[in-house]
Amino acid sequence: MNTEITIVLRSLTHAVKGQKLLLTSGIHCKIIRLSDLDEGCGYGISVSAPLADAAAKILKSNRIPVIKIMRG
């Protein structure tokens, strides 16, 4: 069973931009909204666990800071 990993980003703009980059790179992902972050709500990108590292690398290399990575 593939576990989903959530890559937490700092803004919706980064989430939309990140999703486009990942889809272009062949990584299936979706934008999700989070409400259990330290300061309340935010956005992240959900990818399957095996692809999480590659996804985070793509985001960082495109100057999209990864705030944290959450399981599930």
């Binding site: 703009t13 939309v16 999700i32 909204r33 309340g40 709500c41």
Partner: protein, 382 residues
């Protein structure tokens, strides 16, 4: 339907391209969620609409999507850019062709005792312009504002050279691109522009209701003041606005409908090779001017060829001329055009201003012929 001859494109362009109208209708019908509030498909679709517009903007002007901050118009953009980046004690230089949307916020900050400002003479010649700026800057000059293209005459400032001067001097460079965005080439990176402000509804052919600021790279590290505090869908438990763009400066629901139309407006102008629309406007404007130049009752206030004609008719106040033209289905603007500094520079009547004709992508030679016909008939009766 009565034929309308629209010659007030400096106020807002009309008509709008059919693809802009279709997009706005489509977004209203089926894509009108609130971006950045929920996780459902309509909200995310709206978020994509907004992001698409940010992308279109940076593809045209340079910069990055995060640093595009939406406002409701260029006035909002200029106020936001000026008031979030200046500090107490700063000195600002503005040109003598600035619109009230630069003059008034700067003057208001001065009246509150926060900043000081001076006015520099605008020149098209880069050497003369830089020489003028060198005479006017002070040790505490923090910002130079430049109206790229006047809204009442065909004066275009050398913003690339001004930008280079500002960058070398460590001064923030703000460009008001209200009349030039979509018409003249602008690149925020190559021109060293720190703050580019523009409306969506003029040369970019979007609907009224959206404008934007592109913040340059210097603001990646330099935190701006906030302008309007409120909800933006992230970090809701914090009483503070986020410390990153664009979220820091975008509170409340964004103007999704005009933003969706603005994307299509940019697509529209991208159909033409660079400069085509401006060349057409200049050609029609020259045709009109040449035809009216023979009348000794018309005085023109700008000798340079361009897309704007500013004139007065002897013995008549400008609003009367505009009212007559409106009766013939011709739309122009009279008075001071919210640009008292430029009117003073051009020497228009102090108590009246002048009549402005401003062309757009959809004007034709027929418009020029009809305008001249009615003006010639009008002048004969005076």
């Amino acid at each position: 339907m009565e034929r309308i001859i629209y010659l007030d494109n400096a106020a807002t362009t009309f008509p709008k391209p059919s693809e802009v109208i279709s997009e706005v209708t489509s977004t209203l019908r089926s894509g009108c969620g609130n971006p950045g509030r929920s996780s459902h498909r309509l909200s995310l679709a709206a978020a994509n609409t907004v992001y698409k517009c940010r992308s279109r903007i940076v593809s045209l002007f340079g910069g990055k999507e995060d640093n595009v901050v939406f406002t409701v118009n260029a006035t909002g953009a200029l106020n936001l850019a000026i008031k979030t980046t200046l500090r107490k004690g700063d000195h600002v230089l503005i040109s003598d062709i600035e619109h009230n949307s630069v003059l008034r916020p700067v003057h208001s900050l001065k009246e509150k005792g926060l900043i000081s400002y001076d006015i520099y003479t605008a020149f098209e010649d880069p050497d003369r312009q830089i020489s003028e700026l060198k005479k006017k800057i002070k040790p505490n000059t923090a910002m130079i504002c430049a109206c790229h293209h006047s809204n009442i005459c065909n004066l275009t400032l050398p913003i690339k050279e001004i930008g280079a001067f500002c960058r070398k001097s460590g001064i923030i460079f703000l460009v008001d691109a209200s009349q030039s965005a979509g018409i003249l080439p602008i690149n925020t990176e190559n021109f060293y522009i720190d703050l580019l402000c523009a409306p969506g509804h003029k040369g970019l052919y979007g609907p009224p209701g959206a404008g934007f600021v592109i913040f340059g790279e210097r603001f990646d590290e330099q935190l701006t003041d906030t302008f309007c505090e409120g909800g933006n869908g992230v970090r809701s438990l914090s009483p503070l606005m986020p410390d990153f763009l664009p979220d820091r400066l975008e509170a409340g629901t964004l103007p999704l409908i005009p933003i969706s139309g603005l994307s299509k407006g940019i697509d529209f102008i991208n159909k033409f090779s660079p400069g085509t629309i401006f060349e057409k406007e200049k050609r029609l404007c020259t045709l009109m001017r040449d035809r009216l130049a023979g009348s000794n009752k018309i005085r023109f206030y700008d000798q340079k060829a361009g897309s704007i004609l500013l004139f007065s008719v002897s013995g008549l106040v400008s609003e009367k001329v505009a009212a007559y033209l409106d009766e013939q289905g011709i739309c122009v603007r009279a008075g001071f055009h919210c640009s008292p500094l430029a009117h003073r520079k051009l020497g228009t009547p102090e108590n009246d201003g002048a009549v402005r004709v401003s062309f757009g992508a959809f004007n034709t030679e027929r418009d020029v012929n009809d305008f001249c016909f009615y003006m010639e008939r009008f002048i004969k009766k005076i």
